[in-house]
């Protein structure tokens, strides 16, 4: 993967695109346009949530991840399995079997992201004791939700907890522990996240609240599912590699983070459109008394990630069988809180892509033009023009990215007028 300023894991494969309106209509940040016979993604707007991957019937939307062979470039390799990976296997006897299976695939060690989630849970519990963060405190775990807030809810950025994602924390701990145990340099150790979603891939390339990621690559669950299934058959079942608590594993599904940090006054919402609705309510101060908000872009939480193999409801059920939240205990000591860089090192910035113009007066003028044009449009929101709604179409015209005659309904009206004119001309000549 080449390094670019605005890296996106979600990509379009042009030759497969049929220029339909499926992705166009569903994108939560209106980041897709259909122009010149194919969809295209507006880089500045895309939050890598993966909704378009899921809705494309032609598989023209893909997620760029690293191949398993990436690990060969490293002397020591550590696998970081996402908790949702545990929900991909029917009849999984215990988590140890899966972790040992990963070692069979060529990893020298395995460090559970669920363990990272344990540490993050403890850190969030500590943060919730402080009154200085505005309530509700918003989870930073789902990068698509954090980016959604940057684009659509800039006034809620201060609510986002300044703690890194479980995969980052897991990579930091894994490297340090492995280096100490085997007396090797951390630089020789590569950590690879087994990812259920493209948003995490992008978060590794372009971290949001800090500089460089501690994770060295991201391998899609779909790519590892087959090899891992066979490797697990010959793997031992001992649980020595499992260090996570049931709370950490529970992060795999929506509500798991709430269970671990603040079960009494929290709310878990899954699915990006549902999240938008609740974020609107938070913006209006409608949710008094809410301490913590966990939003997941995918239905069901991370088990619903577009790069998973198993249906999210099925996976959720496997996870439910693996954990016992009522008797779970978070086993993270005080030392962990200070030993690692758990906190963000830079402020999350708003993404002002919705802004019509940097100059307020010019923005107002543009808005007036948008209203004028919008009033003349049919309001079908059909997407035939290539913009998701009539309103965005009006915005695109004003911003110079579309022409009025791209609307087939306006075009028809125009043709009618022209046809009538031709009839009129023909008739005048007969007399």
């Amino acid at each position: 993967m080449e390094e670019t300023k605005r890296f996106h894991s979600v990509r379009l494969e042009k030759d497969k695109c049929r220029a339909c309106t499926n992705c166009l209509k569903r994108c939560p940040t209106e980041a897709i346009r259909v122009r010149g016979g194919s969809a295209h993604i507006i880089d500045e707007r895309c939050i890598d949530c993966g909704v378009c991957i899921r809705v494309c019937d032609y598989h023209a939307k893909v997620a760029v991840t690293d191949p398993l062979s990436i690990i060969e470039g490293w002397k020591y390799r550590i696998a970081l399995p996402a908790p949702s990976l545990y929900g991909q296997f029917k009849n999984l006897k215990n988590i140890g079997q899966l972790l040992n299976g990963l070692k069979e695939l060529g990893f020298d060690d395995v460090f559970e992201v669920a363990r990272g989630a344990d540490v993050v849970s403890r850190a969030i519990r500590e943060r919730l004791k402080k009154p200085d963060i505005p309530r509700p405190v918003i989870s930073s775990a789902c990068p698509a939700i954090v980016r959604l807030i940057q684009v659509r809810f800039p006034d809620l950025i201060d609510h986002i907890v300044d703690i890194r994602q479980p995969m980052e924390v897991a990579a930091m701990i894994a490297k340090k522990e492995f280096a100490r145990k085997h007396q090797v340099s951390e630089k020789e150790i590569g950590c690879f996240f087994l990812t259920p979603c493209p948003a995490k891939v992008t978060a590794i390339r372009n971290p949001i609240g800090h500089e460089k990621s501690a994770v060295d690559g991201a391998i899609s669950v779909l790519d590892i599912y087959g090899p891992l299934s066979s490797a697990m058959r010959r793997a031992p079942e001992d649980e020595t590699l499992k260090t996570s608590s049931d709370f950490g594993v529970g992060w795999a599904r929506s509500g798991g983070e709430c269970d671990a940090v603040c079960p009494e006054a929290s709310m878990a919402v899954d699915g990006i459109t549902n999240c938008i609705r609740v974020l609107e309510e938070i913006e209006d101060n409608r949710l008094n008394g809410l301490e913590f908000f966990e939003g997941a872009a995918c239905t069901g939480g991370c088990v619903g990630g577009p790069l998973n193999f198993e249906n999210n409801y099925v996976a959720r059920n496997w996870i439910r069988r693996l954990v016992d939240i009522r008797n779970a205990e978070l086993n993270v000591d005080n030392g962990m809180m200070t030993k690692y860089q758990l906190y963000d090192s830079r402020r999350i910035q708003p993404n002002s892509v919705m802004k019509l113009d940097d100059d307020l007066l010019e923005a107002m003028r543009k808005m007036e033009r948008i209203e004028e044009i919008y009033a003349t449009l049919p309001g079908y929101d059909c997407g035939s023009c290539g913009s998701p709604t009539c309103r965005t179409f009006a915005e695109d015209i004003v911003q110079g990215n579309a022409r009025e005659m791209d609307c087939i309904h306006k075009m028809k009206e125009q043709l009618k007028v022209m046809a009538q004119q031709m009839v009129d001309i023909a008739e005048t000549q007969r007399e």
């Binding site: 800039p154 006034d155 950025i157 609107e280 209006d284 101060n285 002002s352 802004k355 307020l360 808005m367």
Partner: protein, 142 residues
């Protein structure tokens, strides 16, 4: 300075099914105009409160958004019934919300004080039998 942009949103009495829609549109408008995050937050809170007030307490009215280079103004104007004692209505915890509104979680008596807290300037005029006009402005920092 002349008003530069004005949008009017009619709000029906008792229309819980559409309550909050005007606020959502107003928020979207301000985000597109590039209004800063902290101003946006204050407008959002006050706007939703005032829209809900129109739905719960008034006989119907309208919400007007005005944007000028130095401030955003929200005006709520209704056709009654009017507030008999404004001082009392401005007291935290005082509410005349009916049972229907209370079961929906409204009527905690924080509406007007909350609006005042969020606005830079706040004005309320009311006459029983005529109606209530609330004017709130929010300063835009340069």
């Amino acid at each position: 300075m002349a008003v530069l942009m004005e949008k009017t949103f009619p709000v029906r009495a008792g229309a819980y099914e559409t309550a909050g829609e005007a606020s959502t549109t107003i928020k979207r408008t301000l985000k597109q105009l590039g209004v800063s995050a902290d101003v946006l937050r204050h407008v959002s809170v006050a706007c939703y409160e005032v829209e809900l007030n129109l739905v719960i307490h008034s006989d119907g009215g309208e919400l007007i958004l005005q944007v000028e280079p130095e401030k955003v103004t929200l005006i709520s104007r209704d056709q009654g019934p009017g507030i008999p004692d404004i001082g009392k209505a401005m007291t935290e915890g005082f509410s005349t919300a009916n049972e229907e509104a209370r079961t929906l979680g409204f009527g905690a008596g924080m509406g007007l004080p909350n609006m005042k807290r969020n606005a830079t300037e706040f004005d309320i005029q009311s006459e029983v039998g005529v109606g209530t006009t609330i004017t709130m402005s929010f300063a835009l920092k340069a």
